[in-house]
């Protein structure tokens, strides 16, 4: 049986959770078994919200609503998930490779001595063994990783599989786990509000030093607002404090894999590419035709962003009005 850990964030299952369930359901189908979900902590409107995970292919949702889980402690979570794996008899455990998955999956792997593929980008190949493809060398290559243990743990890169909806309702079952006492106290949580979180975004508009100063960020934001995209920036921009650090993408900042990465005035140093090269479509606007980013791009315009970007925003508005 395939058990998917669906992370609840402030009482809700988010897009990455739906994607992990969709992915786990397809693995279960290929293995001829069922996909069941594990949810820890308090979920708003739980019966309805969890039954709805059937839409992504889950037959059952095991729900352990113990309040201890409302404070995240990877040690407590991994121990509880290990107990759940034993209780429900799972042999494949799926996580999303998010900040939460990155903290728990390795602990669970070590606890169960179950091989882990961290950052999977494809369904397991089960024709001979259990082999999962993942990105290595910061996106410059793939590795096919064989898992040699009876229980397999996979954490799926966000946006690598996509959310797949179908008809269905899952049976919600209360799961009684006996969590250990946590050793971490959460003192403060600071969320960036009012914007599309970068990690979840399907569309990202990003600006670099070519925009000359923070006062010109309307060139990024106008398009982002028009198409509902998140905004991001290069390291130079974050280091100059033109934009907040959480917007920095690249090797030292965050890695993103949206459907569209639209780079304005970013030269495309190899360190920047390492954080964005998983994007499905890359667009580059740069006045320097020699900018290395063009080599990694799908579409490009060699031109002045100050002239080109307002025209693009107009064209998008026109397209939206006619479609």
């Amino acid at each position: 049986m395939v058990l998917i850990f669906a992370d609840q964030i402030e009482g809700q299952i988010k897009k990455q959770g739906f994607e992990a369930v969709s992915y786990g359901a397809k693995i279960a189908e290929n293995l001829g078994t069922t996909a069941e979900v594990l949810v820890l902590g308090t979920v708003d409107n739980a019966n309805e919200a969890l039954a709805a995970l059937g839409k992504y292919g889950a037959t059952k949702v095991h729900y352990a609503s113990n309040a201890i889980f409302d404070t995240f402690d990877a040690q407590v979570y991994a121990a509880a998930i290990a107990d759940a794996v034993a209780a429900v008899g799972a042999n494949v455990v799926v996580f999303s490779h998010t900040t939460t998955g990155k903290a728990i999956a390795p602990r669970l792997s070590a606890r169960l001595k179950a091989g882990l593929v961290a950052g999977a980008i494809s369904l397991p190949d089960i024709t001979s063994g259990f082999v999962v493809k993942k990105l290595v060398f910061s996106g410059k290559a793939f590795a096919h990783v064989g898992v040699n243990t009876p229980i397999k743990v996979i954490s799926l890169n966000p946006n690598a599989f996509g959310v797949k909806q179908q008809e269905g309702t899952a049976e919600v079952i209360a799961l009684d786990l006996k969590p250990m006492a946590g050793k971490i106290t959460v003192k403060e949580v600071n969320k960036i509000t009012g914007t599309v979180p970068l990690g979840e975004a399907e569309l990202v508009i990003s600006g670099g030093r070519g925009l000359k100063g923070p006062e010109n960020w309307y060139l990024v934001e106008d398009l982002a607002n028009e198409i509902g995209a998140a905004t991001a920036c290069s390291r130079a921009v974050a280091d100059a404090h033109w934009r907040p650090h959480h917007e920095h993408v690249g090797q030292t900042g965050g890695a993103v894999a949206p459907n569209l990465y639209f780079a304005i005035g970013i030269s495309g140093a190899i360190q920047h590419l390492a954080g964005v090269n998983r994007s499905k479509t890359i667009v580059v606007i740069n006045k320097d035709p020699e900018a290395p980013f063009f080599k990694a791009a799908d579409y490009g315009i060699v031109g002045d962003a100050f002239v080109v970007m307002p025209k693009i925003v107009e064209a998008v508005k026109k397209m939206k009005a006619t479609s």
Partner: protein, 247 residues
């Protein structure tokens, strides 16, 4: 407080990635190797700062690998650290490596273990979590700031769409990323001193290997960029809408 910093050897960020032996081995010929940037810039430097502030009593480095890793370990020691340990093992997966580090950490009674947030070659983000589970201690991943007061740590970590401030007691394992510290360039004194710092080589302990890389694969070459004239930005919008179908 004794700190153990995990140091990995990785190809330089700009290295050309290629494979040999029927795509089962990374082609090392001509590749420049470096200390994994997250280990060096954030984990090691923050550990050194804690020692300079008098919070940590010692900073030791650990690496799992063959003798050809020694130059990288010396490079890290040139930035700082009292001594280094290399577990002499060249095979194995992340669980095997984590088991080696955990064994050394236990034997040396280290209070705080730092790793980088991931290595830039295998990009697993696994070692810290696995070490913490084997040692049965708390783990904070993707930390961007850390303060220590006696036995107590205050750590800021990245969460989805924001950050969280956590308080915990030693012992602990922390994976470090940008924000923890600023990169340091080794000076001549550090480079000279690194040559004589103790580097102990240990034999590996028995540990399982849970996964194996069956094959590597290079991504297909990009079809090449489709350039649109700066005078026709609406054509770009049409292509994104109709061809790439991104909006």
């Amino acid at each position: 407080m004794k700190i153990l910093v995990c140091i990995s050897k990785t190809p330089d960020t700009t290295a050309k990635i290629a494979f040999t032996d029927n795509n089962t081995k990374f082609a090392e010929a001509g590749v420049q190797f470096i200390v994994n940037p997250y280990d060096e810039w954030y984990a090691l430097v923050r550990a050194l700062e804690l020692k300079e502030a008098g919070t940590a009593t010692s900073v030791s480095l650990i690496n799992v690998g063959g003798a050809d890793n020694d130059p990288i370990i010396r490079k890290a020691l040139a930035i700082g650290g009292d001594d280094a340990i290399r577990v002499n093992a060249t095979e194995g997966d992340s669980y095997y490596i984590a088991s080696q580090i955990a064994a050394v950490a236990k034997e040396g009674a280290y209070d705080l273990i730092f790793t980088g947030k991931e290595t830039i070659d295998y990009n697993g983000s696994c070692i810290g979590g696995m070490i913490s589970e084997i040692l049965e201690v708390p783990y904070i991943s993707l930390a961007t700031a850390l303060a220590a007061d006696g036995n107590q740590l205050t750590v800021t970590r990245e969460i989805e769409g924001g950050e969280e401030l956590d308080i915990l007691s030693l012992p602990a394992v922390i994976s470090c990323q940008k924000g923890m510290a600023e990169q340091r360039i080794p000076n001549m004194k550090g480079i000279m001193g690194a040559r004589t710092k103790p580097l102990t080589v240990k034999d590996p302990v028995e540990a399982d290997v849970l996964t194996t890389i069956v094959a590597f694969e290079l991504p297909p070459a990009k079809a090449g960029v489709k350039l649109v004239s700066a005078d026709e930005p609406e054509e770009l919008v049409r292509l994104l809408h109709e061809e790439a179908k991104v909006f």
